[in-house]
Symmetry: C2
Subunit: 256 residues, 2 copies
């Protein structure tokens, strides 16, 4: 196995570039940091371009990894340089970005979350993870929503990108597309005049739009939804965190 | 108004110390960063030990602040040094930590969240904010749960510490105390053999325990609860983020 100890090594430089959107788009790959994510990628039959581990990490995980990998032993210093966390586990993989990430399926089935200019990577990743848990089919990333494969989004997704479809699409187009397919699209608003989410009947396929942390969803988009939902707030907080609101709605709307 | 431009100024040093638990305990105060939090503190009649603003911040917020404040104009450099965010809004307040933060009320009413070794400051703050929104009465911080007033917790609480009671208490003691008062305490487990949360009847006063991000709640604590709840996961994610799980449960258990 090739050993890499220098931060000047060309491979290290290319792995570090995966922390930026430009680097990911050029290389058409992104980085998984930590054993849970590497394991999930293997279970999902993802294409592992390379697997990088420190001496200790290889000793710990070698028996659980498939053979025939493009494997590298890296120094602790290199692990810190390419990783996103302060105390990396020392195991990484570079994986191909999914090809299908730019279009909605021809026939929509299942429930989908639409993200309208959601900004915080932790919120985005957590929403994807929660959508996966709730049995949703996919997540549509609208304009202005942070990138799908940034290190912080990937960390918060916890491997759920291997279980749900991630699509980049204009949300007006996606909303029209769903409605033409006979499906409902629900917006969300901090507005007691909107529909109480508890009054909604379960549907097997629909879209649910979550908006920007500070400003909510775009008013023009709210105008073209089937309906807009509201979560009543009995307490004194002005609003809910967007990922929390998404979780409450997704686990309500998926009830049998 | 006194102007402070030097990072060597004694007040700046004392404000910076509020980023550490030791500093907060010595000074019995903590720091609010940003207009939303300062405004919430004023609305809640909190004791503002001092209010610090940059030149621009004073121009913007002066008319919305009460008179008679112990006010300081600080340089942008000082604002960056004492603030937690990369781009501070330039307005801060040093406020007294609440005296009542160490004991449960003599008569318990309302719903309470118990945090069992929850680690991530963002999760903790978000749970407090969500408890506030859901109309909960308070949050009990058990041993091993990160500090209530660290900068990241305070940022995520969004001022909800002024609306709900925050108590530090051993969770075995708190559980016994609730049960002796005739109230239920519900644990949470990633265990399909536990009780489905959707089958629970609403109660007006109870405790709900949320556990550590990696390990869940302590098994010994789960043994002494009234019941333990489970959120069924129809999808492929292994688990939910603890703040998301808390949000789903709190907004279910508070339903009328």
């Amino acid at each position: 196995m090739e050993k890499i100890v220098s931060l000047q090594n060309g491979r290290v430089k290319s792995w570090k570039k995966l922390a930026t959107k430009k680097g990911r788009e050029q290389q058409k790959t992104y980085l998984l940091d930590g054993w849970h994510l590497v394991k999930e990628a293997i279970a999902a039959n993802e294409v592992l371009v390379s697997v990088m581990g420190t001496h200790d990490a290889w000793r710990e995980y070698r028996d659980d990894l498939p053979t025939g990998l493009n494997a590298f032993e890296i120094s602790d210093e290199v692990a810190k340089a390419i990783g996103d966390t302060v105390t990396p586990q020392g195991i990484f993989a570079e994986v191909k970005m999914p090809k299908t990430s730019t279009q909605l399926p021809e026939v929509i089935h299942g429930a989908w979350v639409f993200l309208d200019a959601v900004q915080d990577p932790g919120n985005i990743g957590t929403i994807v993870r929660t959508a996966d848990a709730a049995g949703f089919e996919g997540v549509v990333f609208g304009h202005g929503t942070a990138d799908q494969f940034s290190p912080k989004v990937v960390r918060a997704m916890q491997g759920s990108q291997f279980h749900v479809k991630l699509v980049s699409e204009d949300l007006f187009s996606a909303t029209r597309y769903f409605k033409r397919s006979g499906l409902s699209v629900y917006g969300t608003q901090l507005n007691p005049a909107a529909k109480n989410y508890r009054e909604l009947k379960t549907e097997s396929a629909f879209g649910l739009i979550m908006g920007n942390e500070g400003n909510g969803m775009a008013p023009a988009l709210a105008d073209v939804t089937t309906n807009n939902l509201y979560i009543p707030i009995p307490g004194q907080a002005e609003s809910l965190n967007v990922a929390i609101a998404a979780g409450i709605l997704m686990f309500r709307l998926n009830e049998q």
